[in-house]
Amino acid sequence: MMIGKMVDDIDVRMPEDVHDVGKHIPTLNAYLIVVVRDSRGNIVKVHRQRSHSPTANFIGLFLPIAYFSSNNTSYTITNATGGTCIYLPNVASNAQCISYPNVATNVQTYLVTIQVGSGQQSNPYTAIALAAPIANGSGAGQLIYESAVLPQSISINGSTAYFYITQSFNNISGGTVTITEVGLLLQVQLTNYNATATTNCGQVLVWYDVLSSPISVPNAGSVTIYYTFTVNP
């Protein structure tokens, strides 16, 4: 019996009624929560929507070793400026895996920022950058980016587990700034174990959402964004 062939053929001759009919119970949800404050620090708006959009880069970086080894392939990551690099994780000396903190040579892979923008694009999966990023600054149309706050662990509440990332932005531009898109930028560094083959992939967009309604941040006000990820809600 040819096991490999049978696995390859698993979808052959399936009756139509066994295919995806959308009757799933949610297992993993992501939310985008936006809290806007005025110049006195009072909350003037709370916006909450489902976040839908891991990008192709995220899925490529999440693939298991078995994908690469059983298909003898690599994954091409595209960064926010259009540059590319080859992701090839494996348990081998020549692998190109995500870097990990160590006492010798560090090439950091870290969350750069939650980035906000004033544009939008229709296919988040293929997005490699925000359509119109809002710059970090105090000029017209700009916001001051504070540092992103990372989760310390996965939190548990009954049968639910969750974590969230948050970041605040201050508006001292002199006018209202409107946000219509949000994304997560990850600095990706790939390396083998002895640092003889290290690749700086640059800043990679791993998550992207268009807001279901624009968020206006008043002058002297601020906005805090929460990206939340939960399982088994």
Binding site: P26, Y31, I33, N42, R50, L150, I154, F163, V206, T230
Partner: protein, 222 residues
């Protein structure tokens, strides 16, 4: 003014946990099993939603989102890796060496059942890999992806002389941290986690000589 002051951690948790918004979730997952008799004919087909991801799935998924380092100049691993996956904050690396992280998935099968908890670490009664009574011979795990869906497959054969009923299934992740050990020698530390757990809505029965393929599909909304 909508609310008086800063949102507390508890308020955020309530906003996160309440699943009260319409629209589709960002991940749909299902489990599929197909049983063949000795002659290769399909004798049982089963498909059901995969409902139950653990905290370890979230921690693993956080790597392509927040990375592994706490920041551009902080050479320490992020909290979900150290506090949830119990990975080292920092690993030793010899000379000019470095370190990296990678992972693999596998499918676990069991004959027991248990209540789900996001902190589960194992199946209730794992079916061992082998040819003895109550054991299944596991093939290599295969993985493919198409667009927003990742598929993981495994094939098992019942070489024993007894019937085996599969009642529970889990996805397991094996995490590897590789580094340059003393003397420029390669080293790898291995960690394993149960990242999903589901009981099957009906047992998958493998008579002696039968083969079954199990498939897990993870579809992100993209």
């Amino acid at each position: 003014m909508v609310t008086p002051d800063l949102i507390s951690e508890e308020d955020i948790a309530k906003l996160i946990i309440s699943d009260d918004l319409p629209d589709e979730p960002m991940l749909k997952a299902y489990i599929e099993a197909k049983v063949y008799d000795k002659e290769g004919y399909v004798i049982q087909y089963h498909r059901q939603p995969m409902r139950s991801l653990t905290q370890y799935f979230l921690a693993l998924m956080s790597i392509p989102i927040i990375g592994t380092y706490q920041g551009p100049s902080t050479n320490k691993a992020v909290g979900p890796l150290t506090n949830t996956l119990s990975l080292p904050t920092i690993v030793g690396a010899y000379g000019v060496g470095s370190a990296n992280i990678s992972w693999n998935f596998s499918i676990l099968l069991g004959s027991g059942t248990q209540a789900f908890s996001p902190t589960l670490t194992s199946l209730a009664a794992p079916i061992a890999n082998g040819t003895g009574a109550g054991q299944l011979s596991y093939g290599s795990v295969l993985a493919t992806y198409s667009g927003t869906t990742i598929y993981i497959y495994v094939t098992v054969i019942n070489y024993s002389s007894t019937t085996i009923n599969v009642r529970e299934i889990g996805l397991s992740a094996t995490v590897y941290i590789q580094y340059n050990a003393s003397g420029n020698n390669y080293a790898s530390s291995t960690y394993s986690y149960l990242i999903s757990y589901d009981t099957l809505s009906q047992p998958i029965t493998l008579l002696p000589g039968a083969m079954a393929t199990f498939k897990v599909a993870l579809t992100f909304s993209g």
